[in-house]
Symmetry: C2
Amino acid sequence: MSGLRAQKKADKNRRILEAATTLFRKVGYDSARIEDIAEMAGVSVGTFYNYFKNKGDMLMATVSMEVEEVLAAGDAIIARDHDEVAPALSELIGKYYDHSLTYLSKEMWRTAMSLSIAQPETPFSKRYTALDHRLSKQVCDLIRALQKRGVVRREVDCDAVGELLFNNVNMMFIEFVKDEEMDVDGLKAEVARQNAPVARLMCLTAE
Amino acid sequence: MSGLRAQKKADKNRRILEAATTLFRKVGYDSARIEDIAEMAGVSVGTFYNYFKNKGDMLMATVSMEVEEVLAAGDAIIARDHDEVAPALSELIGKYYDHSLTYLSKEMWRTAMSLSIAQPETPFSKRYTALDHRLSKQVCDLIRALQKRGVVRREVDCDAVGELLFNNVNMMFIEFVKDEEMDVDGLKAEVARQNAPVARLMCLTAE
DNA sequence: AAAAAATATTGAACGCGTTCATTTTTTGAG
DNA sequence: CTCAAAAAATGAACGCGTTCAATATTTTTT
């Protein structure tokens, strides 16, 4: 009979997570009170805190899901053969941006980023940072793949350029979520413009 | 005598600002309570809120001072003649980083950045973003100056490259303030490595 | 100078995330 | 089945940023 406790626990975990994501989407992260989440999940406030370290930790589940999916999609893009630098980059980056609002609103992204900067020692921040690094590495991998195919000059340091480009992608994403007016297409266009000179200079063909 | 009110006001403003910055430096931003700041300034909590919109707004004064100074120093660097791209970039960026901890601690930077992302509609965030854009523009100006001198290829889009490089500088600075272990020299070295390929490709001489 | 209007100060109260001592439920041994 | 120990649930209480109705002070009007 010893599965009872574990089963209840799993059930509550799921109910709380469901309630939280529902409320975050409905009223926004800030306006969703722990009390409301707990009530919707049918537990007390104290129980919420037995299951999650704090409110911010609830976001991480969603952020993780988002980024894991986009990483998988990115791998598929890298695996294909590309004959030009700029279009390959645009495709990968475009995938990041297109997918970004699938599970998270701009407000939720702002909160997640804000938390990861404000409290870098928390598990939340560390997981967030780790996901960022995997994305950065993926851009490096794309450049390297292009170099292997002879599309990118042999002497280029792929990691250096990849990190540079990704950091720009990331910073522009911050600008994007800070501005409710800005849409994904505008974002993609701006980043493509910023990438263009580097993409061009990296090419052998542009010689 | 109608100057009485204005004089009292200016005096209180100064006292509150002084108390806040003193406490921020002494015990950190989070641990400095409004109650303590108010007490040290010899006013009530309510009065604090008559002078400042909120706690975060107090940071902006310090951030502004910091960035204004660094912008002035940057202009002086750009005004000089540079014969190579990488060293010129390193000097400007190095100045940004070297100056960054003059008035603000890493924790204060984290708080400022975090606030500017979390609440983009506040005056705080808007002023912060404006300062960022001026810094970004300064990097663009440096590239343009190098291009005018014939050090950078004529066909390069200076704004595109400048924004790209600055966004990397900024993102790396976020990593820097998130990591209490990291020192300025390590930061500068990493950014120089990331810049190197782009700097090299931009050069005419590397042809 | 007194009264009225304008402006500034105040601190108790509020909202909400978080904690923790107490109570309730579950478990396994005898 | 009984009961003591372990685990989980609970909600009142706390901390701190922020608000606001009441009070005090300064300026203007007469």
